[in-house]
């Protein structure tokens, strides 16, 4: 376990803010290079920095009693030695447990908490990037009333006046929030709810209310179950990108990798994906069948029919099979039956009938309690779409007296955003906890900016009774205030949220465990580990399925029956499929340049979205990638460029959500197109698909910023793929390397280690967490759309994607590609100034100071992993992304040089981590052990697809994997002898 410090609340609480602000006058406070003509913003950002730098303990909040200048430092804070704090991610509602690395009081890197039973040390790209959002220049510096700066006292007075007025008029007071994964927050809301006029409405931009409603009908409780992919030997996904974005992707990816381990072939699962647009989940499937969104329900019905026939239910509603090749459905039905009790069918379709059929499938197959956990459900996506619809109606009727918006932005992500805004104007008091002026908060009366989660206390319960704590890793940089504290204050309660949280835990979680008797010890212990799992309190609920599956199936059959108009009409009517993108998810992180520049794992587009269309459709409509079309649904229309995507269902357009923010900040505003207006409410649920879409060409064209333009592997042995049958069962695989080829060069001096890496293509899902982790760890610059179009993105690790399989069953293989650290590196011989050399530990090193930038190494690198600084990307106003402002630069890792213009850079295998592990080992007078060093990409990987280690240690994990029969080197024939190798992807086709 990492030695992550617990953030003691120690005796440092309760003193006024002034005390800590005084510290900015402390001699320690660096960064005195205040610009001569400092604007207000500069002043504030510097102010933020000084405050941050001043709060050296890094975990004492702004209200510090005893802030310690570094001259008399605490033993916990040694300059240059990072501290680690366990906390909980608030990047989405999944609530992953994190460890946060702080250097000199600043959080600089986020890692997964390996102690978490749910997430196991993995993170996603968004989680990795949240640390940058902390230093977002667009965050508000303090509360605003009617758009102008004010004080918290003023805000408190006005809001409480407004609330009293609403109560006096017997008008409703509504808290509109996203799903609250925090149990203490739920408790605070519970206190508000004692008031009869109060209503709490949960609104999830990406809703799962169909799933919840289906469970209400089927099992009597509206919930989202906790899925256990690791217990499933047959996984069927219907438009559920559970490896990329669906519900809790880090958890699911970890589970999925367990069941996909070919070395454990008896346990190896089959995975079948029915989907309209190619997702990373579909890309990893054994069988992927493109299905138009409106027919997904029919697929579920067809499967249910086969299962029902097996268990002898004869009265199944008749109907046609949705797929032309019913063989596949029969085969899938057989497999399902064979694996009953160890299969799992999941669907992201927002349609209650479909979800009831899915629930019936799982119930009939006996999966409940095995692969589907209803007794410890997931506590995410608790929103009910009908409630939100009602609220908008109530607002427009003027029935709402006060509206408090917490972590939501409906003016952007609600389909009828205009109606919401109209209603908002009629609300006498509207308050938002947004950290910035966004589409919604710029229309409210009061903006009470919440802390960034890295500045805040908190807790989370993503899955029933799986708790985690959140602690601040830096004192609040601005005059922000925790949302919980606002809610407490406006209830008239004194004290702060921290005290509340502690008391809440003392009275709840502490009492539910018996291992530790003293609460202080328990608190410290939990803070240190970050997570705790307690026995569930939910019991006695029925897991008996009693859903109206026949009616649901009947509904689906009727609605998807061909309407039999003339075929021409069908031909120019298309369907729409809206999905969360891996980088931006629901769009709340749109101002994060790391995420904007993260290539989508499938389309590999950055800085914008496009409607994916199949090559056939593109040919039919004579469209090229980048051509702008107008899509018309019954309610809305959208102008968007298209992107030709093989594997896309022939009649469907897939559009990623999260783009097209109108007001979020310099990086994210007006990037891409907002597709939320197309997500209309149908049958009480917001539906992320639409039928009867018309396409009109506009003749306009837009350059799309893709980081990969060619996706065919051209028959080259770059990614290797095999089936289970091709694996040698004895696993007595020979060493693939063979004897070393002779060399003209004299032997190099060799050190004690040879650092290497093995990447399991079978485990890699393509989630791209490693890309952002690397970017954060190694200060990789963001270059912007124009430079990406010119093929100059700087990521040290990229996820190459190649198609695999036939047209009907098209999937892809994702290959993380970074410097291969070749034993005989082509780059090293050609550098005229010896700026890239080989270390005795097997690393290919880049010496920035020596590099003059001939780019010969880049040309001669067969893997094209070298990245050149074509311009000055740091402290250059033309590249105002992360390294320009003093705020943005606070995220820089002090252990890694920021490269200047004109030098080459590339993956260093996190040499700074190797170095510190070696130093630690030296101090402890031992040798470096396997596992001491984790590279940033390896640490972030939820599926542990990347293994780093010493190849000279024959027992290290990496060495052992190199003896695996699936092991190979990319471009082996060139004789570059890379220290990075790959394990072939294994598919498990249904026929085996």
């Amino acid at each position: 376990m990492k030695d992550h410090t617990q953030c003691g609340e120690t005796p440092t609480y309760g003193k006024s803010l002034e005390a800590s602000r005084d510290l900015s006058a402390d001699p320690f406070v660096i960064l005195s290079n205040q610009p001569a003509e400092a604007t207000r913003r500069d002043f504030l950002s510097l102010m933020g920095f000084t405050l941050a730098a001043a709060s050296l303990t890094g975990c004492s909040r702004g209200l510090a009693q005893k802030a310690i200048p570094l001259a008399a430092s605490s033993d916990r804070l040694i300059p240059g030695v990072p501290n680690w704090y366990a906390t909980t991610c608030a990047g989405c509602s999944a609530g992953c447990s994190l460890l946060v690395k702080t250097c000199d009081g600043r959080p600089v890197k986020i890692e997964g908490n390996a102690d978490s039973p749910l997430f196991g040390g993995g993170t996603c790209a968004v989680g990795q990037a949240t640390v940058l959002s902390l230093y977002d220049d667009e965050r508000l510096r303090g509360p605003l009333w009617q758009g102008s700066d004010t004080t918290w006292e003023e805000i408190d007075r006005r809001v409480m006046d407004g609330l009293s007025a609403a109560r006096a008029k017997r008008q409703k007071i509504v808290l509109l929030s996203g799903t609250l994964v925090s149990p203490s927050m739920r408790n605070i809301v519970g206190q508000w709810a004692r008031h009869p006029d109060f209503r709490h409405i949960v609104y999830d931009p990406i809703s799962m209310s169909a799933l919840r409603n289906a469970h209400l009908k089927s099992f009597g409780r509206a919930l989202v179950p906790h899925y256990r992919f690791d217990h499933a030997r047959l996984i069927i996904g219907l438009e559920a990108d559970f490896l990329g974005t669906w519900l809790s992707p880090v958890d699911f990816a970890r589970q999925y990798a367990i069941t996909r381990n070919p070395e454990n072939a008896s346990y190896l699962s089959h995975h079948i994906q029915f989907e309209s647009g190619l997702s990373i989940t579909g890309a990893n499937a054994d069988l992927r069948i493109p299905v138009v969104p409106s027919m997904l329900g029919s697929v579920a019905v067809a499967l249910l029919r086969r299962v029902a026939a097996r268990i002898g239910m004869r009265d199944f509603p008749p109907g046609p099979d949705p797929l032309p090749h019913e063989m596949a459905l029969d085969a899938v039905g057989d497999k399902l039956w064979k694996h009953r009790g160890e299969s799992l069918v999941v669907s992201g379709v927002q349609d209650v009938s479909v979800q009831v059929v899915i629930a019936a499938l799982n119930a009939f197959l006996g999966n409940i309690g095995k692969t589907i956990n209803l007794s410890r459900p997931s506590l995410q996506r608790m929103g009910d779409d009908r409630e939100m619809e009602q609220l908008v109606g109530d607002m427009n009727r003027g029935e709402i007296g006060a509206l408090i918006l917490c972590g939501v932005n409906p003016a952007y992500d609600y389909a009828e955003a205009d109606r919401f805004l109209e209603g908002l104007e009629k609300v006498p008091l509207s308050v938002s906890f947004s950290d910035r002026r966004d589409e919604t908060s710029s229309h409210v009366h009061a903006i009470c900016p919440d802390h960034h989660f890295l500045e805040a206390w908190g807790d989370a319960e993503p899955v029933d009774s799986c708790f985690s704590l959140a602690q601040p890793t830096i004192s609040p940089m601005f005059e922000t205030r925790a949302a919980q504290e606002n809610l407490l204050r406006w209830l008239g309660q004194s004290g702060n949220y921290y005290t509340y949280l502690r008391e809440f835990w003392r009275n709840n979680m502490f009492l539910r465990q018996s291992a530790i008797q003293n609460f202080d010890d328990y608190w410290d212990q939990t803070l240190r580990t970050g997570v705790t799992e307690l026995p569930s309190q939910m019991s006695g609920h029925s897991t008996e399925f009693h859903g109206p599956w026949r009616e649901a199936a009947q509904t689906i059959i009727e609605s998807s029956a061909p309407l039999t108009p003339s075929s021409n009409e069908i031909n120019d009517r298309y369907e729409l499929h809206l999905y969360e993108s891996v980088g931006l998810r629901d769009g709340r992180h749109a101002n994060n340049p790391w995420l904007q520049e993260l290539p989508d794992p499938i389309t590999r587009l950055t800085w914008g979205n496009a409607a994916a269309i199949s090559p056939g459709l593109a040919k039919k409509l004579d469209l090229q990638s980048g051509d702008i079309v107008v899509l018309k649904t019954e309610h809305a229309k959208l102008e968007i460029p298209v992107f030709i995507q093989p594997g896309q269902e022939a009649r469907t357009l897939s559009i990623p959500l999260g783009y097209g923010r109108k007001q979020v900040g310099t990086a994210g505003t007006k990037v891409g197109v907002n597709a939320y207006p197309l997500a209309r409410i149908v049958d009480g649920v917001r539906r992320y698909s639409a039928k009867n879409v018309a396409i009109e060409k506009t003749g306009k064209h837009e350059a799309l910023a893709a980081t990969q333009s060619h996706f065919s592997i051209e028959g080259r042995p770059i990614v290797r793929e095999m089936t289970v049958a091709q694996l040698v069962p004895t696993a007595a695989a020979a060493e693939t390397q063979g004897e070393a080829a002779s060399s003209l060069w004299p032997a190099r001096p060799e050190g004690d280690h040879s650092w290497g890496m093995v990447i399991d293509l079978n485990s890699c899902t393509g989630c791209s967490a490693c890309v952002i982790a690397c970017q954060a760890e190694n200060n990789v610059p963001v270059v912007g759309k124009r430079e990406v179009i010119r093929n100059r993105e700087m990521h040290w690790i990229r996820i190459d994607r190649y198609y695999s399989g036939s047209e009907e069953n098209l999937r892809s293989v994702q290959q993380p590609m970074m410097c291969q650290h070749c034993g005989r590196a082509p780059c090293e011989t050609v550098c005229p100034v010896l700026a890239t050399t080989h270390s005795s530990d097997g690393l290919n090193q880049q010496v920035y100071n020596r590099c003059v930038g001939t780019r010969y190494c880049l040309n001669n690198c067969p893997y094209k992993v070298r990245r050149f600084n074509w311009h000055e990307y740091s402290q250059n106003p033309e590249y105002d992304y992360t390294m320009e402002s003093p705020m943005g630069r606070m995220v820089l890792n002090p252990e890694v040089t920021v490269r200047s213009r004109g030098v080459m850079e590339k993956c260093s295998m996190c040499v700074q981590r190797i170095q510190s592990a070696k130093t630690a080992a030296l101090q402890a007078q031992r040798s470096v052990r396997d596992g001491d060093i984790q590279t940033a990409c390896q640490q972030a990987c939820p599926t542990q697809a990347i293994v780093f280690g010493d190849l000279k240690d024959l027992n290290s994990r990496a060495s052992r994997l190199r003896r695996n029969q699936r092991y190979y080197h990319v471009l082996e024939g060139l004789g570059t002898l890379p220290n990075v190798g790959y394990l072939a992807k294994v598919r498990n086709p249904l026929t085996t």
């Binding site: 990969q708 333009s709 060619h710 996706f711 065919s712 592997i713 051209e714 028959g715 080259r716 770059i718 430079e787 010119r790 093929n791 100059r792 993105e793 990229r798 190459d800 994607r801 190649y802 290959q815 590609m817 082509p826 011989t829 050609v830 550098c831 005229p832 100034v833 010896l834 020596r850 590099c851 003059v852 930038g853 001939t854 780019r855 010969y856 880049l858 040309n859 001669n860 067969p862 893997y863 094209k864 070298r866 990245r867 050149f868 600084n869 074509w870 311009h871 000055e872 200047s900 213009r901 004109g902 030098v903 080459m904 990319v970 471009l971 060139l974 570059t976």
Partner: protein
């Protein structure tokens, strides 16, 4: 020296003696030669010169200002990217180095092979070499990411260890090859000019001009001893310069040949590059000479025979180049390497830059084959167009080798395109500006034809004429004698 041997009596009847080729027309006197060659230096330039100079200087100024912008912003202003690390910069470098080769070939190798026709063109060809190598040297210096540190490419004593350059890197070999080449060419050119500089000194009326030329002609006195030493030094330098003709472009080709990329990694590159260099160099010499002979009234000295001889060289080297292209394709097919096959057959022939390949084939393979026809070799407009096509073709050849190989290498995921920016094009034009500005200044301030060598040639002709007339007399005498004998 092709002296005229006096044939024996019996041979004399069967083999009438061929006159040596006439490389100077109109039989000018020695005074006339000096006057003709030095006329541009002693009068004011004409309108044509001014127009050419204004255009060149404008191009140069634009190029220089773009280089200034390049230094301030970084080489990102070019269109290169992380797939295509070199493009116009190294294309231009190889192109200009290649141009230079003709000068050295003409002045050194043809001297050793005693080719008389080189005399009236070698001076300007050598000047062209110098200016072309200057243009070439510009690009490696400005193409690096941190040009202010470009001097690190030279192995100089330093306090960093000392830290030397990487002697395994072909770029370092390039530095040596090109700087050696430039030095030798400069010395050779200068040395060849000394007798002419002395002529200018002797003719100069202006005091300053006389002073300068006195200084640069190093006290030349034209004595027999000086001439004899001078001839020896010229031969020695020619011997030194000769291997450079082969070595420089061989080394430049190793930038590519030693790399691992399909399309670069090839053993035929050195001879292929040398042939290409001579081909392009002669193309450029021909362009320049056609312009100068027509604008400077030097038709007497740069004759059609010269142009025809050069077009034959173009035909030969162009055919070698074409053969090299074929060989590349053959070996790509024959070795069965999928990467090479893709590079040549799928990408060069049918890829997005196939049009560049097409231009290259048109200019380098088809154009020189026109020179099989005497009528084309004798037509100034045809030769002029062809020589320009040769240069376009050779520029594209380097572009094809560099960009078409780089933009689609081993991993299809990193395939990209190179799209030039205005700065790529502007600096290329600027390099032409530099070249022509230098050349135009050269023809105004220095004798662009080697006066002393042409005089030697004319002198030789005179000797020949005298010999022939003597022989005729002899023969007439003999015939008279025979007749007399018969009568007797």
């Amino acid at each position: 020296m092709t002296g005229v041997s006096i044939p024996s009596k019996s041979q004399f009847h069967q083999a009438p003696m061929l006159p040596p080729p006439k490389w100077v027309e109109g039989d000018p006197s020695l005074q006339e030669i000096t006057d003709d060659v030095l006329r541009p230096m002693e009068g004011l330039p004409g309108r044509a010169w001014w127009i050419c100079f204004a255009l060149s200087a404008a191009a140069l100024t634009m190029g220089l200002s773009m280089i200034g912008y390049l230094f301030s912003k970084g080489i990102g202003i070019w269109g290169e990217n992380n797939s295509v690390g070199w493009a116009f910069d190294i294309t231009n470098f190889v192109f200009w180095v290649g141009i230079g080769h003709a000068g050295t070939l003409i002045s050194a190798i043809l001297l050793l092979f005693q080719q008389k026709w080189r005399t009236s063109i070698n001076r300007s060809a050598e000047a062209m070499t110098i200016f072309a190598v200057m243009c070439a040297g510009l690009f490696p210096a400005i193409h690096v990411g941190r040009p202010w540190l470009a001097f690190w490419l030279f192995p100089y004593p330093n306090q960093r260890g000392p830290l030397w350059v990487n002697f395994r890197s072909p770029l370092v070999w390039d530095v040596f090859a090109v700087s050696t080449y430039f030095t030798i060419s400069l010395v050779f050119w200068y040395l060849g000019m000394i007798p002419d500089l002395a002529t200018i000194r002797d003719r100069a009326t202006n005091g300053i001009k006389k002073l300068i030329f006195r200084w640069v002609s190093l006290g030349w006195d034209g004595s027999h001893r000086t001439w004899s030493r001078y001839e020896v030094v010229s031969l020695l330098l020619a011997g030194l310069a000769t291997p450079l003709v082969v070595s420089v472009h061989s080394v430049v080709s190793m930038d590519f040949a030693t790399a691992v990329l399909p399309g670069w990694h090839s053993t035929i590159f050195p001879p292929y590059f040398v042939a290409g260099a001579i081909y392009s160099g002669f193309g450029m010499v021909m362009t320049l000479l056609i312009i100068t002979r027509n604008t400077m009234n030097l038709e007497r000295y740069i004759t059609m025979r010269h142009l025809e001889a050069m077009s034959k060289v173009l035909l030969l080297t162009g055919s070698i180049v074409a053969y090299a292209y074929l060989t590349e394709f053959f070996s790509a097919w024959y070795n069965g390497n999928i990467y090479e096959r893709y590079t040549f057959f799928s990408n060069r022939l049918a890829g997005p830059y196939a049009w560049c390949f097409g231009i290259m084939v048109l200019c380098n393979v088809l154009t020189p084959q026109m020179f099989w026809f005497h009528r084309i070799r004798g037509s100034i407009p045809a030769l002029f167009v062809a020589s320009i096509l040769v240069n376009i073709g050779m520029w594209f050849e380097r572009f094809v080798i560099i960009v078409l190989s780089l933009h689609r290498t081993f991993l299809p995921a990193e395939w990209g395109m190179f799209i030039p920016t205005i700065y790529d094009v502007g600096i290329l034009i600027g390099s032409f500006g530099l070249f022509f500005t230098c050349f135009l200044i050269f023809i105004r301030v220095l004798p662009m034809i080697a006066i002393w060598e042409v005089k030697g040639l004319v002198g030789e002709l005179r000797v020949h004429d005298r010999l022939v007339s003597n022989l005729r007399t002899l023969r007439a005498d003999q015939e008279d004698g025979t007749q007399e004998a018969a009568c007797a």
